[in-house]
């Protein structure tokens, strides 16, 4: 209990300013408690010593140095701004150069992707072949026994140009090759007879310079000519390669 009172009194003494007087209760306790009295004496002495430290004066040239410092800072700020102008311009040029490089790269990549040179692109372009009219597909399928309908015309062309070279490798090779068509409607198509299998017919030359659609007439042996018509193949951006067979192996269209 007494310890509690001592703590309270000491706290009160601690919080007082030096020139302030403590409460009556605290004074009464101080008269009775020697430890607290000693604490008060030491505390007062300590605070007097600390308080005697007083104020240290700033040097006489404090204002002058401060003005010089402010002037120096403002001038260095201005000069650093002008110094920044160079790097800013340089950074601007660098950014523009990077943009130009990226734009050029993007343009080249886009052009490369639009070229019908890869199998993926050819696979994407096969839906154009799918638009082949139905009756001719049935005719060719019956003759060649090749399952993929979309490759019917290609099979005919391949077999004409390569003779007995058939099989999946040949199909892939054809698929990888750019196609070109020729308009035969004005000159009349070559008639492929029933007795002559499609794969064994002699190759005929195709003028790849013409960009018209491809049409083949097939004779069913009863005097009826079935016509296969392949519409103009588009390659995304509606461009056809003029020299389509320049990438083809030798003697292969």
């Amino acid at each position: 209990m007494r310890k509690n009172i001592c703590e309270l009194v000491r706290r009160e003494l601690d919080e007082l300013m030096l020139d302030e007087t403590c409460s009556t209760a605290a004074l009464g306790h101080l008269r009775e408690c020697g430890a607290c009295r000693e604490f008060q004496e030491k505390q007062t002495k300590l605070r007097q010593i600390v308080g005697s430290l007083g104020t240290v004066a700033a040097p006489a040239d404090f204002d002058f140095r401060l003005r010089a410092r402010l002037a120096n800072e403002s001038s260095s700020a201005a000069s650093s701004f002008s110094f920044l102008a160079g790097p800013v311009l340089r950074r601007g040029f660098a950014a523009v150069a990077v943009l130009v490089v990226f734009a050029t790269g993007a343009y080249l990549v886009r052009n490369t992707l639009n070229r019908p040179g890869t199998s993926e692109q050819m696979a994407k372009q096969t839906p154009a072949v799918r638009e082949t009219p139905k009756p001719p597909q049935e005719t060719v399928t019956r003759n060649t026994q090749e399952p993929p309908k979309t490759m019917d015309v290609a099979v005919v062309q391949n077999k004409r140009s390569q003779g007995n070279r058939t099989g999946r490798a040949g199909l892939v090779a054809i698929r990888n090759r750019p196609l070109a068509t020729k308009e035969f409607s004005s000159t009349g198509a070559e008639v492929i007879g029933n007795a002559e299998p499609v794969g064994t017919s002699t190759p005929f030359s195709i003028d790849a310079s013409s960009l018209q659609y491809f049409r083949v007439s097939v004779d069913d042996g009863r005097g009826n000519a079935k016509t296969i018509s392949v519409p103009t193949i588009s390659f995304g951006s509606q461009r056809l390669m003029q020299n389509a067979n320049q990438f083809a192996p030798k003697r292969v269209w």
Binding site: K42, L46, S52, V56
Partner: protein, 213 residues
Amino acid sequence: MNTLTTIDELGFAPALQQDVLEDTTSDHALLEATRNGDQDAFAELVSRYRNQITSYIYRMTNDYDGAVDLAQETFVRVYRAADRYQRSYAFSTYIYRIATNLAISELRKRKRRKLVSLTGFFQQSDGGEPKEFNPPDARPLQDSDLVDTERRNAVQRAIGTLPEKYRAPLILRDVDGRSYDEIAKILETSEGTVKSRISRARGFLREKMHAYL
């Protein structure tokens, strides 16, 4: 009036309000003039606070040249931030807060650099930061002035060994004579924390200064 509202918000004791009102009003006016490009107004502010700030930082860092540099840095910051200054606090609180932050920052830098006193130091028993060991000179002194000087030096050294969180409130209270409320605002902490830290700081000092008490 704006200033009256500000002073009311600060919650100073009525006896203190009038003094603070006069001071802060003129300080605010000077800073306002500084903001408008009046260099003389800023010079007046500097002349009012240069000694207080230099002294306060010196008590904190125990390095006069460094204290002068930091005091100048304090005024530079006040000048730079004159446009952003808000009158929600007394100017003295504002400038002391800047000075305190700079001083504490300097003390931490020193700690990182591990600047050690040539007199050595020992680790505090409660795991606190290292304390400089400054045994009192027991030789008899010839003159009472010398005694006072020696005592002041001893107490300055002892304050310098206090952890920074105890040092700042002790100096603000016992050297500068500021109120708990103002100290709490300067240090951005509660009044209770300030009281507790001051009490602990005095306890440390009593231990160190027992030869002089």
